[in-house]
């Protein structure tokens, strides 16, 4: 039995090493994705272009402008004496914000009657950037003015933030474990469904079935190499994450290994199921992309927070395996929590995997 299984495994490894597509998915894709998400794709805003309107060119306004420019979030790209059509200015210079000092800014500050009014116009088209700008600019200006006039701000309540898990607030820490969910799924689900449909398409599946091999041996033999590859890629992702992006695993590594294997198992089950539905590789691709890749990227909480979605979509996220794996892997890597807290998602993930395998095996028998 093991000898026959071994033969199939070796055959599959030959297939893999000769197919540029498979090699691209296994090697190029993870490397490029890690690189992009680690270095290029960051949500951390900085140096947002700001235009200042300062009609009297006072030294007070210049000081506030300097403070705005000094904060990491903003970068003052120019000062104008009058912004007749502020919206046009924003469009023309690709600025995100205009700070408008009043004509009598210096006088208003010291008048004692209500103080100076500063108007800030924010380009809200990108809602996320707009929100962050709106939440920040008021404090920056107020603090600058108070420091300038040596006023101690009366404050009833001061908020002391305690940031857990990701104290430096880097996006990479959030993306790298998330990428694991996507890359493992890509290798496991896409490649298994492609390799089985390829044998069907070429007609070699029938040839294999008339050999003394048991159908289960064929399937297991074809899947085993992908399981190992997925596991190795998973380990590599964590190593690259650790040494390039400083993503340290806060929790237990054995637990991560076990739960990672469960996720790989579930993804392989998806691939297997797809291969029982699709007759050609092209069909398999057509099913894999919208049915597994898209939901995994969009509906799992990889980038877009699930809690902000409408109720129907939140319900759909409950059947996406990656939702649970993301909860698990972020729990272990970032939070360092143990199995007692993660038991529920682990069991659900395992349950989905078993269910899919049962359905896939049933369908497989009927078909052949």
């Amino acid at each position: 039995m093991f000898k026959r299984l071994y033969a199939i495994v070796v055959k599959e490894i030959y297939h893999i090493s000769r197919d540029w597509q498979t090699m691209m998915i296994i090697i190029l894709m993870p490397v490029m994705m890690m690189f992009l998400y680690g270095y290029a794709l960051t949500m951390d805003l900085k140096d947002v272009p700001v235009i200042v309107e300062d009609p009297e060119l006072s030294k007070e306004a210049a000081l506030v402008t300097k403070d705005i420019d000094a904060s990491t979030l903003f970068s003052v790209i120019g000062t104008v004496s009058s912004a007749q059509e502020p919206a046009e200015l924003l469009k023309k210079y690709h600025a995100k914000m205009i700070v408008r000092f009043p004509v009598s800014f210096a006088k208003d500050l010291r008048s004692g009657a209500g103080g100076a009014n500063i108007q800030v116009l924010i380009d809200g088209s990108d809602a996320n950037t707009g929100t962050i700008l709106r939440n920040t600019i008021g404090n920056v200006i107020t603090k600058s003015v108070l420091d300038m006039l040596n006023i101690i701000q009366p404050k009833a309540v001061t908020v002391h933030p305690v940031v857990l898990y990701n104290a430096q607030q880097k996006s990479a820490l959030y993306f790298v474990p998330g990428l694991m969910a996507i890359i493992l799924l890509m290798i496991s689900a896409m490649l298994t469904s492609l390799t089985i449909t390829r044998e069907k398409e070429l007609g070699t599946m029938e040839q294999l079935l008339v050999t003394p091999l048991h159908p289960a041996e064929i399937i297991i033999g074809k899947i085993l190499p992908y399981m190992f590859i997925a596991a190795i890629v998973g380990v590599l992702i964590m190593i690259v994450g650790r040494y390039f992006f400083d993503v340290r695993i806060a929790g237990s590594i054995p637990l991560l290994a076990v739960t990672g294997s469960i996720y790989i198992f579930t993804s392989l089950a998806i691939g297997l199921l797809i291969s029982t539905v699709a007759a050609k590789q092209q069909d398999a691709m057509m099913i894999v992309l919208p049915v597994t890749m898209l939901p995994t990227i969009i509906l799992s909480g990889f980038i877009f927070p699930v809690s902000s979605m409408p109720a129907i979509l939140q319900a759909i996220t409950c059947i996406v395996p990656a939702t649970y794996f993301l909860e698990i892997i972020r729990g272990i890597v970032l939070k360092g929590v143990g199995l007692s807290i993660l038991l529920k998602p682990v069991l659900i993930l395992l349950g989905i995997g078993l269910l899919l395998v049962i359905v896939a095996v049933k369908r497989f028998r009927v078909k052949l």
Partner: protein, 375 residues
């Protein structure tokens, strides 16, 4: 010219017969537009929060009430100890925990001010930044109201102490709705997928059936063939773009402030690149499956580096220079500008030129490559 018209006619006949392609152009696109239109939101809403109220005073209850009344937060049962808050954040039940000290009211009344601790689940840097920003704003607003009342009781006016007021006005998207920004861009992505995939598949299908060789021995020149293959999809893509765009704008209630003619001009120039990518891949690939794979691979990079959900300005300088050759970036930028800001063509002109250059380069490269391979 007649040859070209014939090839175009032939391709339309193919398209008419190919029920799958037609379905592929319509249903998945509508479904994806609807699902993604709702799912792709960077807004931070319903953040689960719990409070630990050690003070249990009138003031602390008033502060809690002002947080509870805010739709941005989902108020969860009160905690009884700091370790319980930590445990519930660990378990993923909470994203924020607010700890009010037992001397909260006393310090407030004494005038020295008090502080509260905000425990933040910092995994998702962006969301936690926004959520804690909201919480900060609510608390400081409550604090100002408290000071004002206190000052009034003593017959003073608080406004004099802080001599500056900042009024923020949000332009173009006053409600800061994520969908206004994401949905127009989504149409760009969907149209890119449809046009590049269909044109790519159409040539490779002829290869697979062996009819490409038959065509090659007729007087039809490769250039006729390529135009024959792209013009129908250009027309189909154009119509589809207009219809889908109108549909999602109405469905999601998004304004269109620019000129529709300018949008169509951009679409036409853009489609030269997206169709060119299709032709290019089908020249390299031998089977439809390889086309699918290659286009999917290329699109991932085009989309990630287009500013679709992560602004290009956030990227490091060298990545930004790489994005200069990404046609999706220019078209997406133009569509968003036209939709929300109504930007004039004169301002968008540099984008149009760059888009045109990219399109011409991609298209001619694919034609040359095709000529070589075919010849």
């Amino acid at each position: 010219m007649k040859m070209m018209m014939l090839m175009i006619w032939k391709e339309f006949l193919h398209l008419k017969k190919d029920k799958l392609s037609i379905k592929l152009m319509i249903f998945p696109v509508i479904l994806q537009a609807l699902i993604m239109g709702y799912a792709l939101t960077t807004e931070v809403k319903h953040t689960p929060v719990a409070v630990l109220d050690n003070s249990k005073s009138v003031s602390s209850r008033s502060l809690i009430e002002s947080i509870r009344n805010n739709y941005l937060f989902d108020f969860r049962p009160q905690a009884t100890s700091p370790s319980e808050i930590r445990k519930r954040i660990d378990a993923g039940e909470l994203r924020l925990g607010l700890i009010i000290k037992d001397d909260f009211e006393k310090s407030l009344k004494s005038g020295s001010g008090t502080d509260v601790e905000l425990v933040i689940d910092g995994q998702d840097a962006n969301s936690s930044n926004v959520a804690s920003g909201y919480m900060n704003a609510i608390i400081s607003q409550w604090g100002m109201a408290y000071l004002k009342k206190q000052a009034q009781n003593q017959g003073k006016d608080i406004d004099i102490i802080i001599p500056v007021k900042v009024n923020t006005v949000i332009l173009f998207n006053p409600m800061l709705k994520s969908s206004w920004y994401m949905v127009p861009a989504l149409v760009v992505l969907l149209i890119t997928m449809v046009t590049s995939l269909l044109s790519g598949l159409s040539i490779v299908k002829e290869k697979e059936k062996g009819t490409l060789e038959q065509l090659m021995v007729t007087p039809v020149k490769p250039i006729h063939l390529i135009f024959g293959k792209t013009v129908p999809y250009f027309i189909v893509g154009f119509i589809e773009l207009a219809i889908f765009f109108a549909f999602v704008l109405v469905w999601f209630g998004i304004p269109f402030r620019g000129s529709f003619a300018v949008l169509m001009l951009f679409a036409a120039v853009y489609m030269i690149s997206s169709l060119g990518v299709g032709i290019l891949t089908s020249t390299i690939a031998r089977t439809p499956q390889q086309v699918l794979f290659l286009i999917w691979f290329i699109l991932i990079f085009f989309i990630l580096l287009s500013g679709f959900f992560i602004p290009v300005e956030n990227m490091p300088q060298w990545v930004r220079s790489v994005t200069a050759i990404n046609p999706v970036k220019y078209f997406m930028f133009a569509v968003r500008e036209l939709c929300l800001k109504g930007t004039a063509l004169s301002v968008l002109f540099p984008q149009l030129v760059k888009l045109g250059i990219i399109g011409i380069v991609v298209f001619f490269a694919s034609v040359r490559l095709f000529n070589r391979r075919a010849g």
